[in-house]
């Protein structure tokens, strides 16, 4: 191509506005937006390819295109769910051991505090890495916005990080008594703050428009809490403290695995509508969740029979960790699949599980009045002129 033709010369630097700076000035609201039109066209082509086949059996849609936007988070967020849950649960276990563990639990407490502060730092790292503009991570603490679980979570994570850091100081380097007593107090506080840390991530997912997450909003927090506990138990299996701490961790992890298994089944029941629950069964997300259950089951069984052999303990820790990780990634993948499927949103809301849901629970005024001619179940009533 001859470089003389401005069009060829300029296709290289395709900023999508294609304006000559000497003749036109770009100072509009989005003139600073960096964009590559080729990616945008590819995204539209992909959305069109993946569009649900437009058969009226499932109800109307706009050429099968998704009605919601797929979550933009990358792998770092489910990874953060794991490390956050791990840190929180360890904080809780450490504090509990401190309070009710009696003597001989110092090794467990020391390890819990180390894992807690390590997990908090790792969590912060993952969260910042996933940001579109990582340099602006401090913006997370610009406002106090109770309606935003992520905002609340940031405050919790920051506080927990500080407290667990303080608590972990004596564990890492010798310190005089008054400092150690302060660290113990910080440990207790970290345990208390660790509680919301381990559970709020479930509420964070529930507080979205993604059908499968929104529908399972009551199970998700508990599931993530117990999942955090499982990861703590598994971690302490792999890095077993001396004395009674190891047994405490095993029991803590074992019961948590049972809870997690039960809750992962409860997830399906709470999802309710087949179309909403489908991502939990089908596709990559379904496979991950089934794998998680198998791994957690295996880990629990190994926990039950392991008598004192270190090999089995390591196996249980590994299985537990993999299981809870698979669960986290499975739930997030289910969210992506559910957002892509327009009929999930439409079927959910047509079945009265949208805003109408609030009316039944008396939290918001009035049911959804079906638009004239269309009754709540979505079928056109005769009056609208649909074929009777």
């Amino acid at each position: 191509m001859d470089a003389m033709d401005p069009l060829r010369r300029e296709t290289a630097l395709r900023d999508g506005r294609n304006v000559d700076p000497e003749v036109g000035r770009l100072t509009g609201e989005a003139s600073g937006q960096r964009a590559s039109p080729r990616l945008a066209a590819a995204a539209l082509a992909r959305a069109e390819r993946e569009a649900a086949p437009a058969d009226e059996a499932e109800g109307p849609s706009y050429h099968g295109l998704p009605v919601l936007k797929e979550p933009v988070w990358r792998w770092m967020i489910p990874a953060y769910f794991y490390t956050g849950g791990l840190a929180g649960a360890c904080g809780v276990l450490g504090a509990a051991a401190q309070l009710a563990g009696g003597r001989g639990t110092w090794p467990l407490v020391r390890r819990c505090r180390a894992i807690a502060v390590g997990g908090a730092v790792a969590s912060a790292g993952f969260l910042i890495a996933d940001l579109g503009r990582p340099a602006r991570f401090l913006a997370m603490m610009r406002v106090f916005r109770p309606t935003s679980p992520m905002n609340m979570g940031t405050w919790v994570l920051a506080t927990f990080g500080a407290l667990s850091g303080a608590a972990a100081l004596p564990a890492l380097l010798p310190a005089p008594r008054p400092l150690r007593r302060a660290a113990d107090a910080a440990g207790i506080a970290a345990g208390v703050v660790g509680l919301p840390l381990v559970g709020y991530t479930g509420v964070l997912l529930a507080n979205t428009a993604v059908p499968v997450w929104q529908e399972t909003r009551n199970t998700l927090p508990m599931l993530f809490a117990f999942s955090g506990a499982v990861s703590a138990g598994a971690a302490l299996d792999l890095w077993r403290p001396r004395g009674p701490g190891g047994e405490m961790a095993r029991r803590f992890g074992l019961v948590a695995k049972g809870g997690e298994l039960a809750l992962s089944w409860a997830l399906h029941r709470e999802a309710g509508l087949e179309r909403v629950e489908r991502p939990l069964r089908r596709g990559a997300s379904g496979a991950l969740l089934r794998g998680a259950r198998v791994l957690l089951g295996a880990s629990a069984v190994v926990d039950l029979v392991r008598r004192a052999s270190p090999a089995l303990r390591i196996a249980s820790g590994v299985l537990g960790t993999l299981g809870t990780l698979a669960l986290r990634f499975g739930v997030v993948a289910a969210g992506h699949a559910s957002a892509r499927d327009p009929h999930a949103t439409f079927a959910l809301q047509r079945a009265g599980r949208g805003a109408a849901d609030l009316a039944r629970k008396g939290e918001a005024p009035g049911p959804m009045p079906a638009p004239r001619g269309i009754d709540a179940t979505g079928q056109e009533s005769v009056e609208h002129g649909a074929n009777p």
């Binding site: 033709d5 069009l7 999508g16 294609n18 000559d20 003749v23 039109p37």
Partner: protein
Amino acid sequence: MAECHPVAFRWVMEAKNRGATVIHVDPRFTRTSAVADLHVPIRPGSDIAFLGGLVRHVIENERWFKEYVLHYTNASTLVDERFQDTEDLEGLFSGFDSRSNTYDPETWSYQGVQGVVPAAGHKQLVAEKGAGKVPLHGANILERRTDPTLQHPRCVFQILKRHFSRYTPAVVAETCGIPEPLFLEVAETLCRNSGRERTGAFCYAVGWTQHSVGVQYIRTASILQLLLGNIGRPGGGIMALRGHASIQGSTDIPTLFDLLPGYLPMPHSLLPDRGLERYVANNRSPSGWWSEMPKYVVSLLKAWFGDAATRENDWGFDLLPRLSGNHSHMTTVSEMADGKVKGYLVVGENPTVGSMHGSLHRKGLRKLDWLVVRDFALTETAEFWRTAPEIARGEVRTEEIPTEVFFFPAAAHTEKDGSFTNTQRCLQWHHRAIEPAGDCRSDLWFTYHLGKRLKRLYAESPGPNAEAIRALTWDYPTKGKDEDPDAEAVLREVNGFTVADGRPVAGFKELADDGSTACGCWIYSGCYKDGVNQPARRRPQGEQHWVAPEWGWSWPANRRILYNRASADPEGRPWSERKRYVWWDAEKGAWSGYDVPDFIADRPPSYRPPPDAEGIATLAGDDPFIMQADGKGWLFAPSGLLDGPLPTHYEPEESVLENPLYPQQCNPARMEWHRPDNPYHRAFGDPRFPYVVTTYRLTEHHTAGGMSRWLSWLSELQPEMFCEVSPELAAEKGLVNGRWATVTTARGEIECRVLVTERMKPLRVKGRTLHTIGLPYHWSYVGRVRGDPANELIPFVADPNVSIQESKALTANIRAGRHSLGRRSATDGLELRQPEPPRAPPRRDLPGVRTAHRHPPTEPRK
């Protein structure tokens, strides 16, 4: 209209909300149909049958506006006894000369009146006949025989009635594919919305004009609107929706071969050497406003040749070149393809994409010595020598193309002062916002400086008729470092001024034929009244009443609705209170109203011209159509049209149907180019090309794409060339939505995406199912988004009156998939058509009626 003139469609939606009914007649269900009250799918190329049916309905059911028709049209005038209608001659009018394929209009004249000069159209027809042989008797127009009872068999009304008598609803259904109940509903709605209290309007665009009978489409609508009394009234008339910012301006001040500014015809070679006196005699009408023509011609010559124009040398008239036939675009390009044209200047146009048969255009460009292109970017016309299918196929090598090409970057409308004339004849001034960058210059700059250089060259070494160039007035003041000529100075010359003191005239009434005034274009005179740039006026529409006369300036004389005298009854009272527009104000003794009255200001409605009246005095008080010789609306056109006084349904050059109404299949006076590289399909029923093709535009692009295919904000809205087909055709040919198809005609082949849609409905015509393929024509081989240009498929065939091509109705074939072998075309001698079927080809003309010339008759060259 919602597709290509969305903002104009704002007013259709406004009208709809005020109780109007919107009817959209179009082969496709478009964005206009989506919000119209009624969509009427019609077979492309059959509009005269549809409109003829409406005319018949209006007459047969007595729904025509009696008082309006009787007083304001030539319905009562008797026509020459020698006139024979298409009913008598199987689809031909009397006076057809098969040797030259033209009509002689002598037999169409009013009885007893020879050579009535038409307000517009081909005057030289009359002039040709009148040159020195038959003295012109237009003067006794007042003695023309009329029959106010409209019963006389040779009165215009009866001729019209008989002409359309066979256009019954059944025939319309057969010809256009419009079911009878739908047709009757359209007819009734139109009739109910006409008359004293209500008016109906027609809007059209090239969907009507780009046919071999294009001009007669518009004539049929004019006849219908005259019968319904809708002309000259608010909410009535016929609105042309023109596609370019100043295309109306480019016909008023014409970069056209057959006109001088102000619709004065170009002089013809039949004139004697001292031709002004005969030119005026041929084209001046002794009655009506055209009687003022000499003032306008002399003023134009004074404006062009200044002091060199004296009474002795007929004001320089003989310096002007003269036509010897048709020098329209297609004739020029076919001459170019035969190597007869040396140089070509293309300014702000992209003919290889916008015009028909792009490959023939590129063949012509390859034969040029030199080519100048002025545009924003390197269009296909500028790049024909390196990006074209024939070069990609290797048939033509760039090195072998001798043409020298100059590309000049053009200044945008924001980088130059000047005026556009919009489709309502309103001149609006656009001011320069910034200086043009780099070498970009306005076309005013280019022409002015080219002219200065040529004047210098001809001063140094004179060539033939050099005095014309030397006499030309060319001293416009320039400003700025680029020496930009002052556009307002040119506007002042267009407006006209008194030669003695150079004071701008207030209007064409002040022009004189004694050389005391100069005026570049008489219909624009008044656009610089009192030395004020009237087109630059911007009084907000919120601060003036709805006609908004103080925004811009409309020609003539800032009149916004033409022939608005017809909005009042013969006694000068408005037809209705609701539709009051212009009326006679008895106290003031003058016409007044919301608009500048289109009449002689102080002539009372009761005025009747004395028998010996001359010029404007012949216009009676009830003659609203003051430009016409008889002051009446012409239901029957005694002269001015080359293919008949009345519109007649003829099939397009390439049709799928035999003409259901007449044995004469096509327009006998049509222009054809019989050349090996411009092959035609069979007249109808060609098995190799069974489908009808129609072309059109989309909202997101602009004509041939020169101003939209390079913009990413528009190209992303319609990125690729596609064809629209019905689900039935898609099933029949295996076409898949979103995939590819190849469309072929004898001229060329293109590939395009497929859009399967129910908006392209197959029509039931004569028991057969008839499919139409829709092709937008915005894309081509260069630009930010690319695609195949639809115009590669279209042949050279033209309407005789204005030589416009037929790109709205032709036949083609379509196949699924990408089958074009490098976009082959007829110009490279490749026989794209499969062999001719054995049967004898069907005839386009009655036997012995028309001789096919190898080339249209143009004179040989040295």
